[in-house]
């Protein structure tokens, strides 16, 4: 009896084309995940190296994510109309729609960072700040990678651990925020570059939030219940003040 508990997606549907349709969603989400990761990586590389060509590539890659999200949405609506999905299938389809939206937003964040490359170009970027941004993006990328792994393995444990770790990103973001403020106060000529970098840092922090959203969706897909507990938060930028 006990092995009958905790239903998982295992056997194939009696109607095999139904499986093909669900598989299409899984494949497109994985592709979106790959594209989003690459865009985030490349946008930060473009920023750090002032690489205008790479930033252009990130900007144009965003169209791929927009297309994929639209396709997933259309396919999901069609499956719901045709199959009237139930239980784990229904949760999978609803989850796919949500995850596609989050990944599309991740692409937008990367694209926005890429757009700022030109503005920051040619300005002195303090090494420490650059390293801070890199570190922040590494953390966000790890979160994104792991949550995509959690999605492909439908692992609620992995999803939950991603969700619990978002506070690390928040903490780095808060310290970067302080540093940027300090640089701006030291020398007003830093203000332009620092303001752009501030938005970049905020964008990366938001990417972490989207990874957290995806983690919550994966948890729901896998277990059927929603994570209701508060997750740890360490973003204190709303109250940061630097006085001279």
């Amino acid at each position: 009896m006990s092995d009958q508990k905790n239903p998982t997606v295992s056997a194939a549907h009696t109607v095999s084309s139904y499986d093909d349709e669900l598989q299409f969603l899984v494949r497109r989400i994985s592709e979106m995940g790959g594209i989003a990761e690459r865009m985030v990586e490349e946008s930060v590389a473009a920023l750090v190296n002032s690489d205008a060509a790479l930033s252009q590539k990130v900007i144009s890659d965003d169209l791929l994510l927009d297309d994929a999200e639209r396709q997933i949405g259309e396919k999901a609506v069609l499956i719901i109309a045709k199959r009237q999905p139930m239980a784990s299938d229904l949760r999978d389809i609803i989850g796919s729609i949500r995850i596609a939206a989050d990944l599309e937003r991740v692409g937008d964040m990367a694209k926005n960072n890429a757009k700022r490359v030109l503005a920051v170009q040619g300005m002195a970027q303090p090494k420490k700040l650059v390293r801070g941004i890199e570190h922040l993006s590494e953390l966000a990328l790890t979160q994104l990678k792991e949550v995509l792994d959690a999605y492909s393995s439908r692992s609620s444990e992995l999803a939950n651990s991603v969700r619990q770790r978002d506070d690390e990103i928040d903490a780095i973001y808060t310290s970067l925020f302080r540093e940027l403020l300090t640089y701006m106060m030291e020398d007003p000529r830093n203000i332009t570059a620092c303001t752009h970098l501030l938005f970049c840092a905020k964008n990366i922090e938001r990417i972490g939030d989207h990874a957290t959203n995806i983690a919550e969706t994966v948890y729901y897909m896998a277990t059927g219940s929603q994570l209701t507990t508060e997750r740890p938060k360490d973003d204190e930028t709303a109250s940061v003040v630097v006085r001279n």
Binding site: P7, A12, Y18
Partner: protein, 272 residues
């Protein structure tokens, strides 16, 4: 801290789901065999007042057998033996002192195929009250017929041809006529065995709407092969498989997050 709030949420949700309506019918350790074939094994199931309980499961799982036990329709099948207890308001319906005809008036039934008598619409509805002596004069009978047809959502459509043949109605109308016929003898429980499987989507929608209205005054048990229908019309769902009750619970949960793998496989179309 987090653990605390989770427990608090659980307690709140638990409190909401345990406040259930009283039990109208109850089956305990119900075993049914047809000759040497056992069709039901140790089924424990509660049917609650003013709720729609849906019985689902693949063909041959025993759901119709269980339904037919609830008003002793199985008595008419030769070689059928029913063990265990089934109660209506706490009274054992298999007790020898029970009048089966009266029981079937209390626990009415609507079948898969609409089966009006080859009589007028009026006579179809009046037949039951007449043999049970529920009306003393024509005026009273007219009132029972009209009320029953109204409750079944059919009166407006047939009021000008009450004395024409019931078999002349459309399939959906015939099924609602059968529901009116069941209602006419003032039952407490209505059993429905795939009441919409022979109807088109519009007629099905009308019957489903009707089921929801009838729930206010009656307790309903419905066997259906349509998962979507079970999800739409019922508050509780019971899943049968190979003669056993696999899972029973709130319909909202059964169709989004069932506990049992067999329920999951069946409702998502992975069975077999």
């Amino acid at each position: 801290m987090n653990m605390m709030s989770e427990a608090a949420v659980e307690a709140a949700v638990g409190a909401k789901t345990t406040a259930q309506p009283p039990i109208k019918m109850q089956g305990r350790l119900v075993n049914v065999s047809y000759g040497d074939n056992q069709a039901l094994f140790d089924v424990d199931l509660d049917v609650r007042l003013h709720q729609v309980t849906a019985l689902i499961g693949p063909s041959g799982c025993g759901k119709s057998t269980f339904l037919r036990c609830l008003n002793r329709m199985n008595d008419t099948i030769e070689g059928c033996r029913v063990k265990g207890s089934i109660t209506l308001d706490g009274a054992d319906i298999y007790d020898p002192s029970i009048d089966v005809v009266e029981l079937r008036a209390n626990v009415g039934m609507v079948f898969q195929k609409p089966n009006p008598f080859p009589k007028t619409i009026y006579e179809n509805v009046a037949y039951g009250p007449r043999i049970h002596g529920l009306a003393t004069g024509k005026a009273e009978m007219d009132e029972i017929v009209e009320t029953s047809l109204r409750k079944a959502g059919l009166f407006e459509e047939v009021k000008d041809r009450l004395h024409t043949a019931g078999t002349g109605l459309s399939g959906g109308q015939q099924q609602r006529l059968c529901i009116a016929r069941a209602i006419a003898v003032s039952p407490e429980v209505i059993l429905m065995d795939e009441p919409c499987s022979a109807l088109d989507p519009i007629a099905t929608a009308k019957v489903e709407e009707l089921i929801d209205e009838l729930r206010v005054n009656y307790t309903i048990v419905i066997v259906t092969h349509s998962m979507q229908q079970a999800a739409r019309v019922s508050q509780r769902t019971a899943m049968f498989h190979l003669g056993r009750l696999v899972e029973e619970g709130a319909t909202d949960k059964m169709f989004t997050n069932p506990d049992d793998q067999r329920t999951q496989d069946y409702i998502t179309g992975r069975y077999g």
